[in-house]
């Protein structure tokens, strides 16, 4: 029983978070999804570099706040008005969730610090699929939009849902007629593709590396401006190369709570800029296959406005708003 109590106390203490005075250099980093997910990888990579390179004097503590596609974390961030020792990792999915859950806030209501990365999406098919190029898929869609069963790893409003909708729109197919099946993340999507339960999958490619390298899944196209560089994915054409005028990227960045002083905002931006300049960050980009797309402050704020409008119009298009 004693040992039990000790373990419990240790847990309780470690869970307590940092109590800090105003002169503290410590910064908390909130991650709006579970350990191992995309936000988590990006946020922890950034924290790792900032701590490792001693860009700030204090420590950074990472907390995963789960719930409602990031809405829980975003709501709590809005409640931390004026807390200038707090950052949160966000991304395209959180923009969609803010709409799906009818939050009173948008990401632009917080303080934009920086966009860190971009992540491409890919169009995946099983090895024996009749679709050899993206044009084959487009032709099938034009023939009968509801006749192709497609799926993605996110619920409506998330990146894997927005991507096929915007792709359909770009090739002149009515997005609301697509037959989209949502899966709970990359794992179930993989098995659905391998078992030929759905015909086409839309997702970031990180979780599919093994299957792509083994030739069990093929990628018809990637969604970024330029091709990916990894060994097994460098021959995949982009959508624009295939003559489709669409660049779609999932992006991730950092917000601070609303109502912090301009000086502190600039200070936080300076930390992130310094982090961005290190070779360690470059190595993290390389390792994860992320695209280096860095913008800070107001520029990031404008980008958020633009993303917000784009997500809203897509959701309206497919009748979800």
């Amino acid at each position: 029983m004693k040992a039990l109590t000790i373990v419990a106390l240790a847990l309780a203490l470690s869970a307590c978070g940092v109590t800090r005075g105003d002169d503290s250099q410590d910064i908390a980093m909130w991650i709006p999804n579970s350990p191992g997910g995309g936000y988590d990888q990006t946020g922890r990579a950034a924290v790792g570099v900032i701590e490792g390179e001693q860009i700030i004097d204090g420590t950074m503590e990472v907390t995963n706040i789960l719930g409602a596609g990031g809405s829980v974390a975003l709501t709590r961030l809005m409640g931390e008005e004026g807390n200038d020792h707090l950052l949160m990792t966000v991304g395209l999915g959180v923009v969609g969730s803010a709409y799906s859950f009818a939050l009173d806030y948008k990401l632009t209501d917080a303080t934009p610090i920086a966009q860190l990365i971009e992540d491409q999406e890919g169009v995946l098919v099983p090895a024996d699929s009749p679709f050899k190029t993206i044009d084959d898929l487009v032709a099938a869609w034009e023939d009968d939009p509801g006749g192709v069963v497609i799926g993605g790893g996110s619920s409506p409003g998330g990146p894997d849902h927005l991507f096929p909708m915007q792709l359909a729109e770009a090739v002149g197919v009515e997005p609301s007629e697509l037959r989209y099946v949502p899966y709970d993340g990359g794992g179930p999507l993989t098995t659905a593709l391998l078992g030929n339960k759905i015909q086409v999958g839309f997702s970031g490619l990180g979780e599919f590396e093994g299957q792509i390298a083994a030739g069990e899944l093929r990628v018809l196209a990637v969604s970024g401006e330029e091709r990916l560089t990894g060994e097994s994915v460098k021959d995949i054409p982009t959508l624009t190369e295939s003559g489709i005028d669409l660049v779609f990227t999932n992006w991730r960045g950092i917000l601070a709570p609303p109502g912090i002083s301009d000086e502190r905002r600039d200070e936080l931006i300076a930390y992130v800029e310094e982090m961005h300049g290190t070779p360690e960050w470059e190595a993290a980009l390389e390792k994860n296959g992320w695209i280096d797309e860095f913008k800070t402050g107001d520029e990031f704020g404008d980008f958020l406005e633009d993303q917000d409008a784009r997500v809203a119009s897509t959701l309206e298009e497919v009748g979800l708003l």
């Binding site: 869970a15 191992g36 809405s71 409506p156 949502p182 794992g187 759905i198």
Partner: protein
């Protein structure tokens, strides 16, 4: 078999005194963290993973395997002793296990759980070693229609646990199904029954529901009757399993393994359905059905074996496809990648040394668990000698700590208390607890799979019969129902097994 030779080679390389020590430390740490209510194996592994960093891969694997099995067993321990399951897979264990503990048979319940886990884990690991790539190929063909069929079968089987009052049983079942509806509708992205509370959007955690209804509900029930009823003294039982316990346990162990492994091996299978199926099977087969609900050892042996067999089966999609099917598997996937293993179709051929070392480590961790925990069972059982008021205070404390530590959100404690009150009300009005828990577990899986099947087929119901396995399950179901009707004609109105009906307990208490 060449594969067995490879496994044997892995074992020989792995068994050194130093590695055994790491395994022992892993098992102990895993068990200690796993006994905290609300902390299941996934959390235990995630919390303790950093301990293994810096060790060379073989030692790290072995310690990791120890933590994993220790964490799982820790969850069963609290289910049995304190009625607070640490994860959904040990909910079924709590049913009979806690009743056994209250009858002074905690040591036997813990022992049958440990031995059953060991046997199931060993058989499961060997099956993974021999057949993983083959099983993975078969498993991806099992799609939504087959799941729907299996869950329909499970729901029909819940009729056997509705209790002495059908009406009360059904009320509890539908209450559970409604609780299961709370949260995000995956297909449309809309929140349901969340009343604008963002924390409710992500579906209620089955562990919070179970701990609230089982442990808090019971603590409040006992507290409400403290003055009227003198406290029952928990008798001090014998410390070891007797001949009779062995005789009654070995078949459930094997049946549980047979049920659990396939569910672990199919993607998105998990341990909830097989532990439940094992429980109802044992209940059906039990010679003395009246004992079920009052602490039947079969009801611990079967589900525990099913739980561990499915945990071993989980390595099939994890290693062969790189697909994590449970929360524990996701944590494990991250851990394996940390050790330089890239799970996926090529793993078995390209990194076979590491795979055999990993599988050998699992066997070693599993064995150490048995060696360390079997002697500890009587000691754990002594925990129940703590006077009731203090014991229940401790349970409340740990249950709240567990609920809070997952998300660090006070809301979860409020939720826990709300379910505690529901548990109290159910005891007061004689509603059986089990159907409610089943509704919470089975409802969401049925909904997700049904809607996935219909989304794929664009609403054509015929697709529900579109997979061979689905057809087979429905045929079995139809035969079973027909058989039951025929038997009912032949035999006079039969004996209805009494249930885990809190009213029984109430009668005993008075």
């Amino acid at each position: 078999m060449g594969d067995l030779d490879l496994l044997w080679g892995g074992l020989q390389a792995a068994v050194t005194p130093e590695n055994l020590m790491y395994a022992a430390i892993g098992v102990l740490l895993g068990t200690f963290v796993g006994v905290l209510p609300g902390i299941g194996p996934a959390m235990a592994v995630a919390l303790l993973l950093p301990v293994t960093f810096g060790l060379e891969p073989t030692s790290a694997f072995i310690m990791f395997a120890g933590i994993y099995y220790g964490g799982m067993y820790g969850g069963s321990t609290t289910s049995i002793l304190l009625n607070t399951p640490g994860e959904s897979a040990s909910v079924m264990t709590a049913l009979e296990g806690n009743k056994m503990a209250k009858a002074g048979r905690a040591a036997q319940a813990l022992a049958t759980a440990a031995i059953g886990s060991f046997i199931a884990g060993t058989i499961g690991t060997l099956l993974v070693a021999l057949f993983a790539p083959m099983l993975a190929d078969v498993a991806v063909d099992i799609g939504a229609p087959s799941y729907v069929a299996i869950i329909v079968l499970a729901l029909v089987m819940t009729s056997t646990v509705l209790g002495s009052s059908r009406l009360r049983g059904l009320v509890a079942l539908f209450l559970g199904l409604s609780i299961g509806l709370v949260g995000l509708d995956l297909n449309t992205g809309q929140p349901r029954l969340s009343f604008g509370v963002p924390q409710l959007v992500d579906r209620l955690d089955i562990v919070v529901v179970a701990v609230g209804i089982f442990a808090l509900g019971e603590a409040m029930w006992v507290a409400a009757h403290l003055r009227r009823n003198p406290l029952q003294i928990i008798p001090v039982g014998r410390p070891w399993m007797g001949r009779e316990d062995w005789r009654r346990s070995w078949k459930p162990w094997l049946r549980g393994t047979a049920v659990g492994f396939p569910f672990g091996a199919i993607p998105a299978g998990g341990a909830e359905i097989p532990t439940f199926l094992s429980y109802v099977t044992e209940r059906k087969l039990a010679r003395d059905q009246g004992e079920f609900g009052k602490g039947a050892i079969e009801g611990v042996a079967g589900p525990e074996a099913a739980n561990n067999a499915s945990a071993a089966g989980m390595f099939v999609p994890l290693l062969a496809l790189g697909v994590p099917v449970t929360a524990t598997a996701s944590v494990m996937l991250a851990a394996l990648e940390g050790y330089g293993i890239q799970p996926g179709p090529q793993l078995m051929t390209e990194q076979s040394d590491l795979v055999w070392t990993l599988l050998a480590s699992l066997l070693i961790g599993n064995t150490l668990l048995l060696v360390l925990n079997l002697p500890l069972a009587p000691l754990w059982a002594k925990l129940l000698q703590i006077p009731r008021p203090q014991l229940y205070a401790g349970i409340l404390f740990f249950a709240c700590l567990g609920a809070y530590s997952v998300n660090l959100d006070p809301f979860d404690i409020a939720l826990l208390l709300a379910f505690g009150l529901l548990g109290l009300a159910m005891r007061r009005f004689g509603l059986p607890v089990l159907p409610l828990i089943l509704g919470v577990i089975l409802g969401p899986i049925l909904e997700t799979k049904l809607r996935e099947a219909l989304a794929i087929s664009d609403g054509a119901y015929s697709s529900l019969l579109g997979e061979p396995l689905a057809v087979v399950v429905y045929v079995i179901l139809a035969l079973a129902l027909v058989l039951r009707l025929v038997l009912a004609r032949v035999r006079p109105a039969g004996f209805e097994p009494d249930d885990i009906d809190v009213r029984d307990e109430e009668k005993v208490n008075r």
